[in-house]
Assembly symmetry: C2
Homo-oligomer: 272 residues x 2
């Protein structure tokens, strides 16, 4: 029997996919849902405790009480300031160690992961339960990028890698060579919606998501799902490119079907 999985759940639909996969595989699990981030409707009736982001001490205690050995972090978490965090003793000790400046930094995630491991848990990536979710090279559905879209993908990769190296975001929208929008803390969906208002006439743009250089593949990989495909279609984009081996496509068959239904391409492209 597989060890019990602790699912630290942030926002969006993705924690729900992990919960469903655990159930399908009879894998025992327990959710630690982050208040203000995780969606009650997504967590549903899964066994779960709700904590604030600043309650690391309570979180570790609850995971141990639940008999969890492995921990997975899934779903976006809006980065808080220290004041919003209202850290408990355990959380404060953590920041005393890593330094407050980690708050504004994706280095934070790595520090959190290290801290979880020091508490005796093992960090696992989403692909531990969702097999085949790591993006593969090539086309997902039936639509293909044309030459303009390929050029936009190339420009998007270059810019997204640069933004990632600055530890700012993972995604950009490019149309006909013009970078319409760059992701910071607003998240990919909000960025796609913004791009809709900035688009030019002519062939639509592409969404490009890549992992940050040196990013731990178990942590916060750029992720797309069917909702991303729908947002992209609504914004008039022609397709989505993700980094093969450096991004997650959650629900591969559903993504493929949704892309075909809406006439978008979804493609896995090589990293650098």
């Amino acid at each position: 029997m597989a060890s019990k999985l602790g699912i630290v759940a942030g926002g969006g639909e993705f924690p729900g996919l992990v919960i469903a996969a655990c159930r399908a595989q009879n894998r025992p699990f327990h959710v630690l849902a982050l208040s203000g981030h995780a969606d009650k409707a997504v967590i549903g009736d899964a066994p779960a405790d709700w904590i604030r982001l600043g309650e690391a001490g309570t979180g570790f205690k609850l995971l141990k009480q639940a008999g969890v050995e492995d921990v997975m972090m899934i779903g976006p978490v809006r980065r808080p300031t220290l004041r919003e965090l209202a850290p408990d003793f355990r959380t404060t000790r953590f920041f005393a160690k890593v330094g407050l400046k980690a708050l504004g930094d994706d280095g934070l995630l790595r520090a959190v992961a290290r801290e979880i491991e020091e508490e005796g848990f093992r960090i696992v990536g989403v692909d531990d339960v969702l097999s085949d979710c790591l993006a593969v090279p090539g086309i997902y559905g039936t639509y293909l990028p044309d030459d303009q879209a390929k050029a936009d993908i190339q420009r998007g990769r270059e810019v997204a890698k640069g933004i990632g190296a600055l530890d700012v975001g993972q995604a950009v929208v490019v149309q006909q060579g013009i970078v319409l929008a760059v992701e910071a803390v607003e998240g990919t969906d909000a960025m796609i919606r913004r791009a809709a208002g900035l688009k030019r006439e002519g062939p639509g743009g592409v969404l490009v998501k890549v992992k940050k250089p040196g990013q731990d593949r178990r942590l916060d990989l750029p992720t797309i799902g069917t909702a991303t495909v729908r947002e992209a279609a609504t914004a008039g984009l022609r397709g989505i490119a993700v980094e093969a081996g450096g991004a997650l496509v959650l629900g591969r068959d559903a993504v493929r079907a949704e892309a075909d239904r809406l006439g978008l391409f979804v493609i896995g492209v090589e990293g650098d």
Copy 2:
């Protein structure tokens, strides 16, 4: 008598400041206003011709008819796609030379400047008529950045330079170490308004604007004015940092007064 100045006017209030400065200095001038970008209320009753962005041939002819020798480009221009541009013969010849990919690139601006010079005009920067508008090091008003704001400025410079090196944008908003927003084609004012919806509790963020590495100082330097100060205040920012020698502060005394009135700092910081 100073030579006649051709003012190629994009959007916003800045062309109006240049027109006012020419009048104050009795400097002869003629405006070439770009339809869909320049604001009729800002151009007012100044001597002007209106052309589309794609009408380079007409533009050159009109400038010569007006007896213009120097040309200044001022005010943001929303980057068009080729289809929107509907280029005339002269414009098409230009793109045949520089390549279509320049359309999505700030290299475009340099290519345009070269083209204008090959037509026999001299390109001049805004500081040719607006003296003292190049940002100087140090504080503009009476408010000073505290340590948190200084750290945010430092992070903002690093990220804005990185974005600039990718030829994407010139401005970012940083709050407590978190990059709230990165500028692409939406322009600085829209980015500031977006940051308002993304801000965290606690001390507000800062707007940082720097020139792109290698950017020609006569062309499209990052610019702030009183409207920028008001946008920043409305968005809950605590101040603005611009690159000394690499940005324009249009209407220095007015900017200083507005910053003091609204309780913001405005500071010129060293480039790299």
